[in-house]
Symmetry: C2
Subunit: 328 residues, 2 copies
């Protein structure tokens, strides 16, 4: 009798422990941000919202990575200088630091390298790094901030992009319902969401969508089991020029996915449920039932975390020496 | 001897009293905002930053009345749908409630009437009121907010513009150095700024630029004593069709004027010092010395107040029923 009770208790304890211990799951909770250089973050925030980094004086990082709307612009592709329409859907800046590289094709190794791209892209902010530096150096408040943060009188693009990247590193969305569940709160997600997660694993979605970002950790071929309709966008091939990298893209993060329609690099659907079915069809070769789809979507929505609380920055005024914006 | 001392003391006290009692000045301090309906303000803030009120899903009120940059876009004229360039410089939304009417020509009687304009202006946000309502009614969080604030299941343009206007009413900039001086703090402004204010009065600037907004209280002819170069923009005439209203404009607010270059309805100068000289020449028929100009500019900069502290709003996601943005 004593032995039976002991075994019973052990099983009971084991089950309870394993319910709370989810550290072996392939998805990991978003860790708390630490070691913040607040002065650098504040400068980076100003620069992130700074329209004078664009030729027109109208577009900022936030124009296409809008922190009100999930860190993206929720457009098929972004609107750039003179209303040029970009070639690809704008990825979210939220949790972007958990990507192995930046841009869909991974052409920037990190957030800092990424930040320099749009400023000087003629189809986006259409400025140049030199012009951006000239703007900032004409404004005493910026000169003082760069001096205080970087100890230099000369503003360089390295400092500009470092400050922006440092701000972007704070743009994480912790404490989603799913993360709370991962951290041991059994009641944080519903039965439906939990079953959805089990399906997400069982169907194989988690093979690519895992880690802290629930994606962002690898390049994968879009159309792994069935050719994807868009054959114009070559993805990773543009960087490596290797034939075998054609149609490979950085796996998108699924964090806050309900906030960032339309979906995929080509924005081919606005509907998360349809997006899940497309993935199942082209990547996994399976057809989901409506019930399975609904459950997986419910799980995905449990990945929405706390959005960054941003105090809208006040930007210092231009001076007589500040180059004028050029809308043309 | 006693009498002399008494007279001396009286004079001393009188001077000191009058230094602190500035309630008869023609410029009045910005009063504290009171009686805020926080739920309505929060809804209005979301709508102010809501790009889905535009046809493209890209432009919001804040695009042209950017709260990072003095409540204006600091462009010669605003950039609208498909990069259309507007016909006139965008006035600041900061302290706009102190205007006798809205727009340069006063065609909207108040902030609420103003707010409906740009949404449906084909050259600006290029949507329609009906389309804007359809967007908001497709999003449950907005439906709930309107129900909670206005007690209605049916969202109307009256509620949309009322919420935006209510938010805008909170966009005031109190506690400028000059206001502190007006309120009795003798050391709040420098001697230079104070002399600049005396010149501002003596030269006649204060005839039009007075009240809480330091402007905004009347329509005045641009080119009162000397014809102004721009004769294409007819101003108040567009509203009244009265010949005598040609070239009349609402007197702009001078609060935070250092933040909102370029200046005048036609953005004819980016330089505040030059703007002051232009006003002296065309409105007052006087030529200011460089010294006088510098002092008046110093006074004007003392009008910069505390910028509104805005927590950037998080906007609720679109649903399957939300009309898609149209960038074309």
């Amino acid at each position: 009798m004593k032995l039976i009770l002991f075994v019973y208790c052990s099983i009971f304890l084991t089950v309870n422990l394993s319910a709370a211990d989810r550290s072996n799951e392939m998805i990991k909770p978003i860790p708390a941000t630490s070691d913040i250089n607040q002065a650098k973050v504040d400068l980076g925030k100003q620069l992130f919202f700074e329209p004078r980094l664009s030729k027109s004086g109208f577009l900022s990082c936030n124009s296409c990575h809008n922190l009100s709307t999930g860190g993206a612009d929720n457009l098929p592709s972004s609107i750039g200088h003179k209303w040029q329409l970009g070639p690809i859907n704008s990825p979210t800046v939220l949790n972007a630091k958990f990507n192995l590289a930046q841009f869909w094709d991974g052409r920037a190794k990190d957030l800092q390298e990424q930040a320099g791209g749009p400023i000087a892209n003629p189809g986006e902010m259409a400025s140049t790094h030199e012009a951006a530096i000239n703007v900032l150096e004409s404004i005493p408040e910026y000169v003082n901030s760069f001096k205080s943060v970087y100890g230099t009188d000369k503003i360089g693009v390295e400092q500009i992009t470092d400050a922006i990247a440092t701000f972007e590193e704070t743009l994480v969305t912790p404490n989603s319902k799913f993360d709370k569940w991962l951290q041991g709160d059994d009641n944080a997600i519903s039965k439906l969401e939990q079953v959805g997660y089990e399906l997400f694993k069982a169907k194989g979605c988690i093979t690519c969508h895992n880690g802290i970002g629930v994606g962002g950790a690898s390049y994968q071929k879009l159309g792994m089991v069935k050719p994807y309709p868009d054959t114009k966008t070559l993805g990773r091939y543009n960087v490596t020029k290797k034939e075998e990298d054609k149609y490979f893209f950085k796996v998108p993060l699924l964090r806050n996915i309900e906030l960032t329609a339309p979906y995929f690099h080509d924005a081919s659907t606005w509907d998360l449920s349809e997006a899940v079915n497309i993935m199942a069809e082209y990547q996994l070769g399976v057809a989901l039932s409506a019930d399975e789809n609904q459950k997986i979507v419910a799980f995905l929505k449990s990945l929405t975390g706390e959005q960054p609380k941003i105090t809208y920055p006040i930007l210092p005024p231009s001076t007589k020496d500040t180059p004028k914006p050029d809308r043309n």
